[in-house]
């Protein structure tokens, strides 16, 4: 294995050569690359950037090269991250395939499933959505009732999901289904993959308070999914489901890190520095004139610093390839609350200019901020609510007794 320094030099040179100039600027919402059969590239450079990064497997740097991943070890991954950050490079690809499905497929999928799906995730060819929540099953996810019955070589799926982010844009879905109704709720769930173009699937977008409609109601009416698409063993899907949630939470906790790390969490604003924004809008030069806001911003930034050190420490502490654990709930909860605080402070900093909805009188960034502030409220709901994360910490990390057996096991 080559030394870290050599890898750094090589990486820096490659990025210098291959990262287009316009990809070295902070991400803007409309230019986030989600990939998929109908991939959109609002900025043509992002297609070039994706293609080059995917070729090296660096959209998924730690995944095995056997399946198209980067095959990097932990130290190299850190170096790559640092070098990307050094030039302010945008993420080449953002997807639920990368942050959620891929890691569990690598852990629980069979060789054929990995071979079929992993390379397409790396290259951004297939866009995935998450079929977990149902109208009757939110925090108590394990009570889900979407039904899958084996009929010949296929599972026949009936039921509905809700809050399915980008179900209307996704190519495939990873879905939790009930395959046994006669056992305790956690023991009858299976984890299955199927194509969203299958006959019998319909989606209906739901509008958010921020005005956009990124998620849907999703209906399954006699949908056929090949039995070979079941991941792991029949009725043992809950283990995989929980593992995936840990990955999802780790991803969402990233919202608490500094802006610019693009995702759908409302952190793509180009108005980046909170204190700079506050001073700009108030016309202050050396010191923020509102002492209360100044103190609140300082407190926020101190927490954000300590949180960033904590994220870093958790990466250093996790052994190579071990991935996230129950502390991902702590990171998720804290990161989300921080992100929400950041948007509230941003609104306070900007004053009435931060409260525009549309039209004249506001610039694009200001209008985007209003929407992102609203979107950020979902951070402590999606991926398991803050209350659910606190339950998990209390039980799994602190070992406190679980009298009501409401465990999110």
């Amino acid at each position: 294995m080559q030394s870290q320094q050599a890898f750094r030099i090589e990486t820096r040179a490659w990025l210098e050569q291959n990262c287009p100039k316009s990809m070295r600027t902070s991400m803007v919402q409309e230019e986030v690359v989600w990939g998929g059969r109908n991939a959109e590239f609002a900025n043509p450079d992002s297609e070039i950037w994706l293609q080059r990064m995917a070729e090296k497997g660096w959209t998924c740097p730690t995944w095995p090269s056997e399946y198209g991943g980067g095959g990097l070890d932990k130290d190299q991954t850190i170096v790559l991250g640092e070098e990307l950050a050094r030039i302010n490079a945008r993420p080449a690809l953002t997807s639920f395939g990368i942050s959620m499905l891929g890691p569990v497929l690598l852990e629980y999928g069979n060789h054929q499933q990995k071979q079929e799906h992993i390379p397409k995730i790396v290259r951004g060819e297939i866009r995935w959505c998450q079929g977990y929540s149902e109208p009757g099953s939110g925090s108590d996810l394990a009570s889900l009732s979407t039904k899958a019955e084996l009929q010949g070589d296929n599972y026949l799926i009936n039921g509905s999901k809700v809050w399915t982010s980008y179900a209307d844009k996704a190519d495939w879905i990873f879905c939790l289904v009930r395959t046994d109704f006669d056992v305790p709720k956690h023991s009858g769930i299976s984890f299955i993959l199927f194509d969203m173009t299958s006959v019998g699937i319909s989606t209906k977008p739901i509008q958010l308070i921020s005005g956009s409609s990124p998620f849907c109601e999703t209906f399954f009416d006699d949908v056929k999914a090949p039995a070979s698409n079941l991941v792991g063993r029949l009725n043992e899907g809950w283990t995989i489901a929980k593992r995936l949630l840990q990955h999802e939470r780790t991803m969402i906790s990233g919202f608490g890190l500094s802006a610019g790390q693009s995702d759908n969490g409302g952190t793509t604003s180009t108005i980046s520095s909170l204190e700079g924004t506050a001073m700009h809008y108030r016309g202050d030069s050396k010191k923020l004139s509102d002492p209360v806001l100044r103190d609140q911003i300082a407190r926020f930034k101190i927490d954000a610093d300590a949180f960033a050190h904590t994220s870093k420490r958790s990466i250093e502490e996790s052994k190579q390839g071990q991935g996230p654990n129950a502390t991902s709930s702590m990171l998720k909860n804290y990161g989300c609350e921080l992100n929400k605080r950041r948007y509230e402070l941003m609104l306070q900093a900007i004053g009435s200019q931060g409260l525009g909805w549309e039209g004249e009188g506001f610039n694009d960034e200001e209008l985007q901020l209003t929407r992102e502030w609203l979107r950020s409220k979902a951070n402590s709901i999606e991926g398991g609510t803050s209350e659910v994360q606190l339950n998990i910490i209390a039980k799994r990390v602190l070992g406190l007794p679980d009298i009501l057996s409401l465990a999110q096991k």
């Binding site: 700079g276 300590a306 702590m330």
Partner: protein
Amino acid sequence: MALVLSEEQQLLKDSAKNFCEQNAPVSVLRGLRDSKDEQGYDQGIWSQMIELGWAGMAIPEAYGGFDFGYGGLGVVLEETGKTLVSSPLIPTVLVGATAIAQLGNEAQKQVLLPKIVAGELLTALALDEHTSHNPSKIATTATKVDGGYSLNGSKTFVLDGHIANMLIVVARTSGETDSEQGISLFLVDANAEGLNIARTIMVDSRNSSNIQFKNVVVAEDALLGEKDQGFNGLDSVLDIARIGIAAEMLGSMQAVFESILEFLKQREQFGVLIGSFQGLQHRAAEMYSEIELCKSAVRAALAGLDEPDTTQAEIAVLASMTKAKLSEVFFLVSNEGIQMHGGIGMTDEFDIGFFIKRARVAQQFLGDSSFHRDRYATLNGF
């Protein structure tokens, strides 16, 4: 910057933990308090700490120390924080030795540092003059006299003032009372003529004192660092001390939290363990998260101190971030420590009270959270 302990640091931490649990539990502090001990610390335990090399932890080998860095001293402080060890470790080893190592000339370092390592010299920093920390608001004067300086003024909250052999005194050689310009540091023999040292009994049962200087004359070579230009160096010494005290606070808050968890898993009310009540669970989970952040802040700050490339400005930001955060969280955890123990938490017989008392003193020492948030904002240009 490594945020996980090295193998050496981990070993040191384990042995410090072992030592404190075996030899210096909270009952030692209780004993010192109840007997109104003159010294305010246990000589036998301090001697053992010297033997373990703790006094030379962060001192370079060239001056008789063990060159273990502030990362090393930090893990020791964390462990002494868990059992609230009262000793000269903070006033002499963390503050005094750092001041001499950072600001002293070669002769001062050669003479004084080995004595600290050997436990032959105790120091006290005479800095603050007001009820809140403000290192540039210095009215104590040092006026030039034949062959040296004459010191006049008064100091408060001087840790170990009444047992130190030597005081490190912050005085004004020029400039206005509020100015960073014109501040100088002096090494003053504790037996010097004109000194009036009055021990103060603090709520945390640790040593502190008020000191008055009336024409205290010191020689020319008593100057520590540059004349008039002492503030910058002082501030960097204080930053190291702030990070060190934060490490101690980290240990103390972990001890409180452990006690809380133990109680939640053992106390029954309404026919069940109280730890099963969500009203307590969520608060415990939030405290856990805050303590994890504190751990990371302390580790990052200590690593920053030992990293040769860290600038003074970066250390200042790390120090204020860490001291502000730790002060806030220790406040929270010490309050919850009492609340979650119910009536027992209010009793003197139970140790938790010692921790909330220590918390408030540690919060104040070298700047509370609002001092450091203000400083953090200034350092970050807003």
